[in-house]
């Protein structure tokens, strides 16, 4: 009896070792489906928790945020070349009644919001920084979004970088199309001429070097979302 049990427990241990070996570091292939399913479940939990009234306020102290890392996916900092592409303008289109084209001057004339908030990076670091810009919700009102718009795609001229959002997060009062940081217009290291910024999403959801805000009936993935990072990426 004893021996049989010992045999069984040893068998169990070696089976566990075999499974662990088969996993390698990514885990078994079959788990991918389960992970995808869990991500969708998490998304519904995150959407359930989402409130437009949940705000983020970062402390305005000392050095914080002055060292916010620069980041882009192109080889060098992407620069809008007016000679080639003409004057930069933000396009607000898709499921809207009146598509817009807003130059930087147009944007600067709209009611602006200045907020010091935390930037939450997917890697785990945070930086608190001050952005000035126009609420995405204000742009949506200007363009008159149609009822079938459930998602927004924020597209850029930084290669093919884009990230799509759920409409609720985009309509959060702290979600901005920002054109100033710490009181100055953005430079090409930090997403000039305009970028998305919001504390309600992880850093990678906040598209820089913005060209288009496209309201959509369906989600449209994203640069990092298509590489396995959570599509929702809420905070």
């Amino acid at each position: 009896m004893m021996d049989r049990r010992r045999f069984l427990s040893l068998g169990g241990l070696s089976a566990a070792a075999l499974i662990a070996e088969a996993c390698e570091s990514h885990g078994p292939k079959g788990a991918l489906k389960v992970l995808r399913w869990a991500e969708r479940r998490n998304e519904s939990v995150e959407r359930f928790l989402f409130r437009h009234t949940s705000m983020n306020h970062a402390s305005a102290d000392r050095l914080v945020g002055r060292r916010m890392p620069s980041y882009y996916i192109s080889k060098g900092p992407p620069v809008w070349d007016e000679a080639v592409r003409g004057k930069w303008a933000l396009e607000v289109s898709g499921a809207v009644r009146t598509p817009l084209r807003l130059t930087l001057e147009d944007l600067a004339k709209l009611p602006r919001v200045t907020q010091r908030i935390d930037h939450f990076c997917v890697e785990g670091w945070t930086a608190s920084t001050q952005f000035t810009g126009v609420r995405v919700s204000a742009l949506a009102r200007l363009a008159g979004i149609r009822p079938d718009a459930g998602y927004v795609d924020f597209q850029s001229f930084d290669s093919d970088y884009h990230e799509s959002w759920d409409l609720e997060s985009a309509m959060h009062p702290q979600t901005l199309v920002a054109f100033m940081r710490e009181g100055r217009f953005l430079n090409s290291w930090y997403g000039a001429p305009a970028r998305v910024h919001s504390p309600v999403k992880l850093g990678y959801k906040n598209t820089k070097y913005l060209t288009r805000v496209v309201f959509m009936p369906q989600r449209n993935g994203g640069y990092w979302s298509d590489k396995g990072y959570e599509w929702y990426g809420g905070t």
Partner: protein
């Protein structure tokens, strides 16, 4: 006393199942968590320094990590967290509803009992203190683990939703500190978990079997064998002390019966104190030196009479009988 659960089983099947699910889920959570940590192996906000972590910037070794890249590790972490939390909730609900919490809840005397265990492990005390289902050291760890688990979940939620659940994050001192506490709780869990696994193999290997099948042979328990980690145990000697006419030479040891007679342990939900005297034990003229060891006159113990059965002397703090000395 009524049996708390299936006859002869040391652990209810729900406890056994949740134990192993927890072992797998917790291991994966820790390994994938370390991979996530390695993406930014520091706590300071950008442009700041952090007071309380001497190894800012030092990543965990790759062999400890799991999940592939950062995205894979995050996906594993956010999937496995549900298994860990639901499994933990099932365990806690069971332990609460089924009364097993009584084996784990702290009691007056636990500190003293834990100290006695330390003395035993350090050879200051010769015999294993009497215990209930768990010894006092073990019990304190098993009591602490669920609380640490709850803290791990709460700090984890705090860094998952620092905006939507900002009050929770604020409770832990903000995002940076919540992340720090999440890491610290993990370190504690690893420490206690490693100690637990070590003690299983070093002191009570059959507890591994009991956590699989539920069966446990009390005659080979660490208490019965006087087992210390890394040292061979020695079964407790049994003193045969004549009741009627003590022999002139003092207590004699009955070599034949040196193997301790196995009495079924009290039901597992019983408090970890010496069993109350029953008529049958008083009638048997065999006094277990181990039991004499633990006779303490305190308000929780009602067995002081046991010590007088054979007229054996109790030897002060070390808790050894003269008889035991003779037996060697």
């Amino acid at each position: 006393m009524a049996k708390p659960h299936a006859a002869g089983k040391r652990h209810h099947w729900i406890v056994r199942a949740t134990h192993w699910v927890n072992a797998v889920a917790l291991t994966l959570m820790i390994a994938s968590g370390l991979r996530i940590f390695n993406a930014y192996p520091a706590f300071a906000r950008k442009g700041e320094t952090f007071c309380c972590w001497p190894w800012e910037g030092t990543a965990a070794p790759a062999w400890m990590t799991f999940g592939g890249g950062l995205s894979g590790a995050r996906n594993w972490h956010f999937a496995m967290m549900w298994l860990l939390a639901v499994n933990g909730a099932v365990y806690l609900a069971f332990v609460w509803l089924h009364g097993e919490w009584r084996d784990l809840a702290p009691r007056r005397g636990d500190v003293r009992d834990a100290w006695e265990m330390v003395k035993f492990y350090l050879f200051v005390r010769k015999t294993h203190p009497h215990q209930g289902k768990h010894n006092a050291l073990q019990k304190s760890v098993y009591f602490a683990l669920p609380w640490l688990g709850v803290l791990a979940v709460l700090t984890g939620i705090a860094i998952w939703k620092p905006v939507q659940l900002a009050p929770l994050t604020g409770l832990f001192g903000g995002y940076v500190w919540a992340r720090y506490w999440h890491f610290a709780v993990m370190l504690l869990l690893v420490l206690l978990g490693a100690g637990h696994v070590f003690m299983v193999f070093a002191v009570d290997p059959q507890s591994l079997r009991s956590m699989v099948t539920g069966d446990y042979d009390e005659s080979r328990s660490p208490e019965a064998l006087n087992k210390r980690p890394l040292f061979r145990g020695h079964p407790k000697p049994v003193l045969a002390i004549p009741t009627a006419a003590p022999s002139p030479g003092g207590a004699e040891v009955d070599r034949e019966t040196e193997v301790r007679p196995v009495a079924p342990r009290e039901p597992m939900s019983a408090p970890s104190h010496p069993p109350a005297p029953s008529p049958s034990t008083e009638a048997v003229p065999v006094v277990d030196a181990a039991d004499i060891d633990d006779v303490r006159v305190d308000d929780e113990t009602t067995v002081a009479t046991d010590a007088n059965v054979g007229g054996a002397e109790i030897d002060g703090d070390a808790g050894e009988t003269d008889g035991e000395e003779v037996g060697r």
